[in-house]
């Protein structure tokens, strides 16, 4: 009986799986393919043919720059900050007489921090509006698909904030000719952190704590270790943990034992809160140091007191260019600019400066000018390496008496 029953149930399950798997296919397949087939010509060919003359006409009087930012979706505040920063840059250029004598016009599109809307927005601005330069997107997962289009259609793209290495790299490891970014990539912070620890804190012995399962954290830790040992320092211990750990007592006992001058912990604020709180109990007095993962309103400033972290920018930076930027942004929008607004501003400035330097409104020339540029931005003096990643300074911030204070700016 039971065998028969089992057989029948198995058959029913198998049948339902097969049917279930088959049934949606005929309906789904056209749903995804049909629009691609019908829309592709509409998007790429038809408007290009009609709008192309308009685009060339436009070059006489105005220069169009597209800003792709997530104004809705999961991270709208990122998008709004980035857009505001970029628009302020454009306003300032226009006030100075524009670029190559042309007034700059912004075409703002909501790309939602998602691949599909970002691709649609990129196609729209290129094909319909005749834009040849794109500032955006904010999120790597949206910027990367846009970069494929930019590369294909020979449009210069600069992403203000996308840190994924794949943004500027082809799958074969070569650099995408038309794609740049204005922010440093993650491991760079480890290098700057190590330099600061060696030169400013005079640290000789470092202990590294990192989450092996997190690419961001591991990238920073590896870069720190390399730079610290290359600079003559000694890594006296390295311990890993998982993101689910809450009890760090065993690791911290080892840290206390090793008596390092600095403990490098490049994780997000939630782990930093737990580790630093427990470290205080274990009598660890060496300062902790991390990356921009610490940058959160939820950082436990009491536990992390005395700790340092690297970041893109600080409004307390004393350089005049930073102070001017903070003043102008506050005048325009009524708030202190965050890192996203700053990078949006820098990215737009870099692009416009490259167009000015190229002397012609031609993406072919502009991409070469951008690759060779040296520009004083708010987030540091920026040049590009061979992979189109910026080489620029980072700021060091310290958690002190419940506040985040600016310490210094470190050039790589």
């Amino acid at each position: 009986m039971s065998k028969k029953f089992l057989l029948i149930t198995t058959l029913i399950i198998v049948a339902s799986l097969v049917l279930g798997a088959c049934a949606p296919k005929p309906t789904e397949a056209p749903a995804t393919e049909a629009p691609a087939a019908t829309e592709a010509p509409a998007m790429t060919e038809a408007p290009a043919a009609t709008e192309a003359p308009a685009a060339t006409e436009a070059t006489a009087g105005t220069l169009k720059i597209a800003i792709l930012a997530p104004l809705s979706g999961s991270v709208p505040t990122f998008g709004v900050s980035t857009r505001d920063g970029a628009l302020l840059a454009i306003k300032e250029w226009n006030a100075k007489g524009g670029v190559l004598g042309m007034q700059v016009e912004a075409v703002v599109e909501d790309s939602q921090c998602e691949a599909d809307p970002a691709v649609n927005a990129a196609n729209k601005v290129i094909d319909q509006d005749g834009v040849k330069y794109i500032v955006g997107e904010v999120c790597s997962k949206a910027s990367i698909p846009v970069s494929e289009i930019a590369e294909q259609k020979h449009v210069v793209q600069i992403s203000p904030t996308s840190t994924n290495a794949q943004l500027t790299l082809n799958t074969d490891g070569s650099t995408k000719q038309y794609v740049f970014r204005a922010c440093f990539i993650d491991p760079f912070q480890g290098t700057v952190g190590a330099k600061f620890a060696l030169d400013n804190l005079k640290a000789k012995k470092a202990f590294i704590l990192f989450d092996q399962g997190n690419d961001y954290v591991r990238g920073l830790a590896e870069a720190f270790e390399k730079a610290f040992t290359d600079g003559g320092g000694q890594v006296v211990g390295k311990e890993t943990y998982t993101s689910q750990d809450t009890d760090f007592s065993a690791i911290l006992a080892k840290v206390a034992e090793a008596q390092p001058d600095i403990v490098y912990l490049p994780d997000y604020y939630n782990i930093v809160n737990l580790v630093t709180a427990q470290a205080k109990e274990k009598g660890i007095t060496a300062p902790f140091m991390g990356g921009d993962g610490w940058d959160s309103a939820d950082l436990d400033k009491k536990a992390a007191d005395g700790g340092y972290y690297t970041n893109h920018y600080s409004p307390d930076d004393t350089r005049p260019i930073v102070q001017d930027w903070v003043k102008n942004y506050q005048a325009a929008y009524g708030s202190v600019p965050d890192a996203l607004a700053t990078l949006g501003y820098d990215a737009t400035n870099l692009l416009l400066a490259a167009i000015q330097a190229a002397g012609v409104n031609d993406p072919e020339k502009v991409k070469d000018a951008l690759a060779a540029i040296k520009w004083d931005g708010v987030s540091g003096t920026i040049t590009f390496d061979q992979f189109h990643n910026p080489i620029k300074s980072a700021v060091i911030l310290q958690v002190k008496d419940g506040k985040i204070v600016y310490v210094t700016t470190v050039a790589p």
């Binding site: 890993t240 943990y241 009890d247 007592s249 065993a250 034992e257 008596q259 604020y269 009598g283 536990a303």
Partner: protein
């Protein structure tokens, strides 16, 4: 049929001996490895044992709830870890928003700081315990009682459902929010170091090399756990309710015939277990100061393993199992490999269960007539 089964068990027993020898060899190797390093630096080893004690005592409080509930209704209450989370959250709001820990200072200003803080902290713990007890009784009445006579798997699935409900209800923005919340302790941490006597460690200073650190947190955890454990033993062994519990665990229908209100006893068991989890939640949060809506999953799972390790259904077993879990985790992290700590802790479970399938203190299941 009978013959076939006998030879099969025979073969199992024979095969098991080889496995057991192998496992004992591995265990000895690990102990030898740790011991070797420990001899070189005995101070660090003692420090790690203390760290393990702190973790083990908290696990013990959670494990007791699992073991008591299993003992009486044969249900693995997977929502137990989330009751623990609720206990931690309640204390967070009691301390952070309502300053409950400061009431003795406000009502009796003459009390010394130490006494008033101790009473304040204990009242925070009591509030968490009461809330958790109430919550557990409600859960039992709504979700488990209607399934008392259903197949055991249905009750298990329901327990998992309740667990998810508590987690994601807690994650709602107007309940506990889905954020990582920095826990505010009712008292400040004081650390003492043991080297040529007992000294207080001043804030921001490093202790001298080779000293052993003990914090007031650890003392509070041990104190509270021991008090609760002794009261629990008293309740179970010496009171009428405890007698009724043991009777119901042994044989429910006969207990009913003897005039015991079995449903009431089951509710009381859930309440006591949850109250212990609530206390554990507060202690865990003071030791590892961060609370969030799924903080109960991992400690709950580990405490469950501790309960199985000690022999599920056995109260001393849960305590011993939890202490072993705490030590295993910390020593594995301290001497073998940090990312492997859970793997090692779980391997210990397998090892013990292979040698004693019913756990350390567990008795072989008796067939009931």
């Amino acid at each position: 049929m009978e013959n076939e089964r006998l030879t099969f068990t025979d073969r199992m027993i024979k095969g098991k001996w080889i496995g057991k020898l192998l496992l004992i060899a591995i265990a000895l190797l690990a102990i030898w490895g740790i011991g070797n390093k420990a001899v070189h630096n005995p101070q660090l080893f003692i420090q790690q044992i203390i760290n393990g004690l702190q973790l083990g005592f908290v696990y013990a409080l959670i494990a007791l709830g699992y073991t008591m509930v299993y003992g009486i209704v044969r249900l693995i209450n997977f929502a137990h870890g989330d009751v623990f989370m609720v206990g931690a959250m309640v204390s967070y709001f009691a301390v952070g928003s309502f300053h409950l820990h400061q009431w003795p200072a406000a009502v009796f200003p003459g009390l010394p700081m130490f006494v008033s803080l101790l009473i304040g902290t204990l009242s925070v713990i009591l509030l968490s315990m009461a809330t958790c007890a109430l919550l557990a009784v409600t859960i039992e009445r709504i979700a488990y009682k209607p399934l008392r006579n259903a197949p055991r798997i249905s009750a298990l699935i329901t327990a998992i459902g309740v667990s998810f409900f508590l987690e994601y209800f807690g994650a709602l923005p107007f309940v506990f929010t889905p954020n990582f919340i920095t826990y505010k302790r009712p008292y400040d941490i004081i650390t003492w170091y043991l080297k040529d006597g007992f000294h207080r460690l001043e804030a921001g200073k490093a202790p001298p090399q080779g000293s052993i650190l003990i914090s007031n947190n650890l003392l509070i955890i041990i104190l509270v756990t021991v008090i609760l454990l002794l009261s629990l033993t008293y309740i179970v062994q010496k009171t009428k309710v405890g007698k009724a519990m043991r009777a119901s665990a042994y044989d429910k229908p006969t207990s009913r015939l003897m005039g015991i209100n079995v449903d009431g006893i089951i509710s009381i068991t859930f309440a006591i277990g949850a109250a212990l989890a609530g206390a554990a939640g507060v202690l865990y949060a003071t030791a590892y100061p961060q609370v969030f809506f799924w903080m109960g999953i991992i400690p709950g799972l580990k405490a469950f393993i501790a309960a199985v390790l000690g022999g599920i259904g056995s109260i001393p077993g849960a305590f011993v199992g939890a202490l072993i879990m705490g030590q295993a985790e910390v020593l594995a992290a301290g001497y073998i490999s940090t990312p492997m700590r859970d793997a090692i802790a779980f391997s210990i479970l397998i090892l013990v269960l292979l040698i004693r399938p019913t756990g350390i203190f567990g008795e072989p299941e008796r067939e009931k007539a």
